[in-house]
Amino acid sequence: MRMDHQLAERWIAPKSNVLDLGCGNGELLAHLQSKFGVTGYGLEIDPDKINEAIANGLSIIEQDLNDGLARFEDNSFDTVIMARALQAVMTPDKLLLDMLRVGREAIITFPNFAHWQNRLHLGIKGLMPVSEALPYEWYDTPNIHLCTFKDFEALCANHNIQILSRFAVSDSTRHSSALRTLLIRQAPNLLADVAIYRVTKSS
């Protein structure tokens, strides 16, 4: 299972009600549902992934995230999850606020644009970064709103969003090493290529 999914699992309470934005084939939802009795819906636009998820018994709604979450009532979910889609939507700030309107907490993961490899690409080679976390060329990328750890935290501060937990992971290696963990902890904005945040509305 993907790293960000493993983390999401740790933060989601059994039997809770979740909304998964950009749920793909519903891998995370299926896991949460079968293991922890979690209920909820996935939103997705890819027709084949939707059908795959439906065949797995999941509740999937075909919807473009750019259309917002107006169809959901305030506080209708315990947790709203969005894995690696924030950078691909038209208005990430509005969607983030909408997630916290319909959910008590939100779990958001996104590729860190300030990862050292990206800095190397742009700073030294003078090219738009292409990496494992950002596998597209500049002309065909769906990632239209890339940001860094610092950028995201500034957005949260501006909108009174409280950061409950944050986690930096590296896609390039799945093996945990003490030195690597220590280094990432020291300089996440430089060394981690994927950011995972758990946020809520400030009381």
Binding site: L7, P14, Q33, P47, I50, N51, I61, F167
Partner: protein, 434 residues
């Protein structure tokens, strides 16, 4: 005049398609269907109920017949049954053929059959003709037993047949379920007015279905929908041959009225793009004739469709079916903007709701009202808005994505309360909490 031949309101082979996307879809669709089998020759059966049926309108039918067809085998624990509900002009003949030289398959033959989306190798499929219809179940063309008491020969119900509702149909379908020994349906599936019946089932008999498939439907008709129905009804009612609905006795038939009603209905099933692509402004003779005979190809097509329909359908049936549509509103007894959510809150099934992008008769927004109401009360529901060029008629086309969704939904595990474990804290992902 009345035949058992089913003339469902949609003729996939004759429907227009739009330029590129439509053609691609259509060709793909054909390829899909030709690889699949047929249920073969089927024989309609009759369920005769002697139990008086009190209808929503408070009138009583002393007895009634339901004509139905079945495909596939019912398993030992009777857990593999799927009920198909038909639309406005549909019948019980959903799949297969009635004889070896029958050229026309049932109205949903591309959906139902061996290895098809509704797979008759796995499921026992039942399709019922509703009361009030003219294809064999008790309706306006049936002899009225009460008319016999005057010492005279019985006459057809005609306009005396009570106005039946979606709820009444569902009740008769539940009676048929009892007769067949089916306590719980694996799924109930319907498109358009059939979708309304499926939805009503989930409210009226929540314990009796596990899955509910609502296609190209609506939680209630809009003012515009009712307006189109009213034009259709007035076409029939104002035909001099209608004779207050007693045309069978009078030896007349409101053919003109029925043709007009069908023409206006047919326009609403298609789209402007589809009609433009198929007919454009093409003229039959290539030049303007400066008269009122058929000149444009689209006029010719509509008249042909109307005429064919008028040969196979009953005017009183058309009237009461359109009223059943108009009356449908399962949220009527509830108040507030969440009335539909309240109405659907009793349901216990998993839903699959589907709409088609170009359907303006029951637009995607209407399906989304159902979906949003279900989600407001945390009901399991999946929703697809399928890109298809054929308007409301799309639900009768072989659209691979649509067929695959239904097939997947019907075979998916039913969501029970899963065993709940504590989140696994032992596996430490690579990475660092900050």
């Amino acid at each position: 005049m009345m035949t058992m031949n089913n003339d469902h309101h949609l003729n996939a082979d004759q429907l227009p398609m739009t330029a590129q996307s439509g053609k691609a879809n259509y060709l793909q669709a054909k390829a899909y269907s030709t690889t699949e089998g047929s249920v073969g020759i089927v024989t309609p059966k009759v369920f005769h109920s002697k139990v008086p049926l009190t209808l929503v309108c408070n009138r009583i039918l002393p007895s009634f017949d339901l004509v139905y067809e079945t495909y596939g085998q019912l398993n030992r624990d009777k857990s593999n049954a799927i009920l198909i509900c038909h639309a406005l002009s549909g019948s019980h003949h959903a799949a297969g053929y009635h004889s070896a030289d029958d050229k026309k398959a049932g109205w949903w033959d591309n959906m139902i059959g061996p290895n098809k989306a509704i797979d008759t190798n796995r499921f026992f499929v039942v399709c019922v003709n509703n009361i009030g219809s003219c294809f064999g179940s008790t309706g306006p063309t049936t002899l009225n037993p009460e008319s016999q008491s005057n010492g005279e020969a019985a006459i057809p119900y005609g306009p005396d047949f009570p106005l039946v509702t979606i709820k009444d149909w569902v009740k008769t379908q539940a009676m048929l379920s009892d007769y067949l020994g089916i306590e719980v349906w694996h799924a109930i599936v319907g498109g358009s007015m059939g979708g309304m019946q499926a939805l009503q089932w989930s409210v009226d008999y929540p314990e009796r279905l596990k899955r509910c498939v609502v296609i190209a439907s609506t939680p209630k008709l809009s003012a515009q929908n009712i307006a189109f129905n009213e034009v259709a009804r007035q076409s029939i009612l104002s035909d001099p041959d209608f004779n207050h609905g007693r045309y069978l006795q009078a030896g007349t038939y409101p053919r003109r009225g029925l043709i007009l009603a069908r023409m206006v209905g047919h326009i609403t099933y298609l789209t402007e793009d589809a009609m433009m692509t198929k007919f454009g402004r093409d003229l039959k003779s290539g030049k303007f004739m400066y008269g009122y005979d058929v000149e444009f190809q689209v006029e010719s097509y509509l008249r042909y469709q109307g005429e064919r329909f008028s040969e196979n359908f009953d005017a009183n049936t058309y009237l009461l079916m359109t009223k059943a549509l108009d009356y449908f509103d399962p949220a009527r007894d509830f108040d507030g903007k969440d009335a539909l959510a309240k109405a659907l809150s009793v349901s216990k099934c998993q839903y699959l709701v589907m709409s088609f992008t170009t359907d303006w008769r029951f637009a995607p927004e209407r399906s989304q009202e159902i979906v949003n109401a279900l989600m407001a009360t945390k009901k399991p529901v999946s929703y697809l808005n399928i890109d298809a060029p054929h308007g409301h008629d799309s639900f009768l086309f072989d659209i691979p994505r649509y067929m695959t969704a239904i097939k997947g939904f019907l075979s998916a595990p039913f969501i029970h309360d899963a065993p709940t474990l504590q989140p696994n804290q032992s596996t430490q992902p690579a990475g660092a909490p900050l």
